[in-house]
């Protein structure tokens, strides 16, 4: 009797504990499935991994790519450290810091079943450097040995990357502290042998990927569809079955869609005046809440084209523009929680950020007077072409800048373009027929190189496609930028801060306006909201689930 009772109790306890364990581990599996729908106002530039350099595409590629190093699917500080993904661990680094050796973890497969090998990464670098691809991102190859020769067409492949079995060796031209961060950019993701052979500067629209999802289809201008990668065995979550991106709806339609639940995320934004309302209605930054706002390493600015007569060797006018622009009003156009005004190149939170108080953050009668004084005699005809995106708040912001410019005597004509068209044309010397363009830049990783050198190093301005929209090419600063990129530790920050201050004080390439926040509006259908601004804006799409 006693024995039986004891047995009964033991059984009860063990089944209870089994149930508890089951309940504890049942969480993730219960939320799988369904289709998540995103709205974008305009089409992406490309979905080709070696070409795409646009935030909206990168949030999609964050789900499809598998990389040597990646950003963990976590919020905050935990998500901001480049962590080995396909690499089995941190690389072995040679003493001079110029050779990195990675070991490839087995088990990663492309959506077409092929295995990910060290060669997959070599292929990616070679395709990236291939001059026929004309990728905008080639500036990020500069530290890899042999990359420049490949980009210049002098070599058929990049000599500095080699694959031997499951070992990948990368040789650098100089020791570079941000290599691991760079490797986490989608340019460096593993590509399958088929894509490796497809060289087309217009971009490939269908290819196999090795991340939790793959691009199932793309209809340019209309839609992009991602589906769960059936062969993915890495550790990242893949909750939804399908991620559907609909392109072309205006911001007010996007707002209506997310509000009603026909879409889950307004990736293209919502009307600026709605933010206050929805924060009041749904609360701010609640767990799995519908409205999420995060600061990001980003800058909105007006790039002044230094290759055209108006701003060429005309620092006084550039300073005048910085005095004239109404940063407060620009921010107001964006609505509630748009961001913080700034007069610096680097954003707060970035190493090297040092507000120098050079330009006013608020327009008064005195600031206008000062602006006019600086502009006087330097107007050179006073006619300018101002480019801007045509979606959402951008036309209003452009008219605001136009008004500010009018105050100092510049008659600016506004040209509105679809966003991808705007920066593609601006970054191509052949089509860059603007004097000023209202731009936005979000950091790819948390290092000033990604801001300063990528955007302002003069050696890019002759490339067929680049990011130096100011066409800023001052030998002194080019040298200082290169020198700063070699430093490590606090010295790096000091050098970049000095560069920032000096440029803005003596010969501003831009009029920096606002460091904007990432504002996210989600439908009531979704949960598992995790946001990693380094990985991309918006919620992590592979983690986002239907409630």
């Amino acid at each position: 009797m006693k024995g039986k009772r004891l047995l009964g109790i033991a059984l009860a306890i063990s089944s209870l504990s089994l149930l508890l364990v089951a309940a504890a581990t049942a969480g993730p599996t219960a939320k799988r499935g369904g289709t998540i729908v995103l709205d974008m106002t305009t089409d992406v530039d490309y979905i080709d991994p070696q070409l795409s350099y646009y935030g909206e595409t990168w949030k999609l590629e964050a789900t499809t790519a598998c990389k040597l190093m990646n950003w963990p699917d976590k919020e905050g500080a935990a998500g901001a450290v480049a962590t080995p993904e396909v690499a089995s661990g941190l690389p072995l680094v040679s003493k001079d810091g110029k050779t990195y050796t990675f070991t490839i973890k087995p088990g990663f497969k492309f959506s077409n079943g092929k295995a990910v090998t060290a060669q997959s990464f070599v292929d990616a670098v070679n395709r990236f450097a291939n001059p026929k691809m004309q990728s905008t991102g080639v500036a990020f190859l500069d530290i890899i040995k042999g990359a420049q020769a490949a980009v210049d067409g002098k070599a058929g492949s990049v000599s500095g990357v080699k694959a031997r079995g499951n070992k990948l060796t990368i040789q650098l031209t100089k020791a570079s502290p941000d290599l691991l961060a760079r490797l986490a950019m989608p340019f460096y993701q593993a590509i399958d042998p088929t894509l490796a052979r497809q060289i087309d500067a217009n971009g490939i629209n269908q290819y196999a990927s090795c991340g939790p999802y793959y691009f199932a289809s793309r209809t340019p201008g209309r839609s992009i569809t991602l589906k769960r990668n059936p062969n993915y065995k890495g550790g990242r979550t893949a909750n939804a079955d399908t991620i559907q991106v609909n392109i072309g709806n205006s911001v007010d339609v996007e707002f209506q869609n997310v509000e009603k639940g026909t879409s889950d995320y307004a990736s293209g934004g919502i009307p600026a005046t709605e933010w206050k309302n929805i924060v009041a209605k749904y609360g701010l930054n609640k767990k799995d809440g519908r409205v999420q706002v995060r600061p990001q390493l980003d800058i909105r600015y007006v790039a002044m084209n230094h290759s055209r007569p108006l701003f060429k060797d005309n620092p006084q006018l550039a300073k005048a523009v910085n005095w004239a622009v109404d940063r407060q009003a620009f921010s107001a156009q964006g609505g509630y929680l748009y961001g913080k005004r700034t007069g610096q190149i680097l954003p707060p939170g970035m190493l090297g950020y040092k507000p120098a108080g050079i330009y006013p953050l608020k327009v008064t009668a005195n600031t206008i007077k000062q602006a006019r004084k600086l502009a006087e005699g330097n107007l050179r005809g006073g006619k300018a072409v101002l480019w801007s995106s045509n979606a959402g708040t951008a036309p209003l912001q452009a008219q605001l800048i136009q008004y500010n410019l009018k105050q100092i005597g510049i008659d600016a004509e506004i040209k509105l373009l679809p966003r991808a068209q705007q920066f593609t044309n601006a970054g191509n010397p052949q089509t860059a027929s603007f004097d000023m363009t209202v731009e936005r830049w979000g950091a790819d990783y948390a290092d000033p190189y990604d801001f300063m050198n990528i955007l302002l190093d003069g050696k890019q301005v002759t490339q067929p496609q680049h990011n130096n929209y100011a066409y800023f090419n001052v030998a002194k600063y080019n040298k200082e930028m290169t020198a700063a990129s070699l430093l490590t530790g606090p010295k790096r920050g000091v050098a970049y801060a000095a560069l920032d201050g000096n440029m803005m004080r003596t010969n501003p390439p831009w009029a920096p306006l606002v460091n904007s926040n990432d504002r996210i509006f989600l439908s009531s259908r979704v949960g598992c909201v995790t946001i990693n601004e380094i990985s991309g804006t918006g919620p992590l799409l592979n983690v986002l689930c239907l409630k």
Partner: protein, 360 residues
Amino acid sequence: MSNLADSAEAAANGQAVILRGRAALPPEDAAVDDDFDVGAVEARGYWEGVWLRLRRDKLALAGGVFIVLLFVTAFAGAPLASHFLGHGPNEPFLVSGGLDADQLPAGPWTHVGKLTENGELEQQLFVLGSDSTLARDEFLRLLYGAQVSLEVGVGATLLSLLLGSIAGAAAGFYRGWADTTISRLVDLTMAFPYLLFVITLAGTLGTRLNHVTFGFLGEGVVTLVLVFGLLGWFYSARVMRSVALSIREKEFVEAARMVGASNRRIIRSHVFPHLVGPLIVLATLNVAAFILAEAGLSFLGLGIQLPTASWGNLLADAPQYYTSRPLLMVWPGVALLLTTLAFNLLGDGLRDAFDPRGSR
């Protein structure tokens, strides 16, 4: 289209009055109008008849009065209002009342502050509130937008009518190779997908022409006038051609010819007076159509250039404020509706006045 041609033709005849349709005459007036018979056309009597008939059409008169008021408001009222209110239509009032506490555009009848030279704030009034988050005066933008709409409407009408009536009348009167050529040209222009061509031309030629303002026109007006005019002339050409054709056969023309009058004299003294009627009707209806077309193009971003206000681009910015300032959608839409309505009513009334027998 056929209705218009026929009624224009009939109007040219100055036929006896048998009214049908909307406004039927009481018997006594019918007797009065019998004095205007076929045959020799007395210019004075003809016009008097037209005016009498028009006067009876209350709706058309209302339309006409509205149009006159619109012109006055747009070209005199707008600068006056701007002067009295103390600011222009493109000035933002961002920091001093143009945006309310929630950073939304201010509502109607808001007082805003203008920054003067010595840094003080001078109180001014926004009658209809702000137009957008740029806090410009919606009321003034509506008024100046009226200017743009009328400039484009009237300008394009003048151009298309000028080209069209000369071509059409010449074709109809002279016949022969002139007729064949011009008719073929009309066919050619009609084969173009009108709106597609308009947006293509406006988008491409626009970059060259948008700066041309002659000092007083809005940016983009010249582009639209040219594009609408050059692509729209065929419509009036066809109408004028059939009018000229029918007049040509009239007895008085034959009579004049027998007497030995030259073609030029015949055209001047006999044909032209009968063209004027249909021309006026066409003009009024075309203005309405071009105003709507301009609004559509500006909505697409291809018409009037920012920051110049036009009813079309006011309409383009308004949907963003659906939930917060829904009235912003109402003002430009209603303005467009009333203006087009007025022109259509006037045009219909004129058509009935010139051709009281209906479309025959």
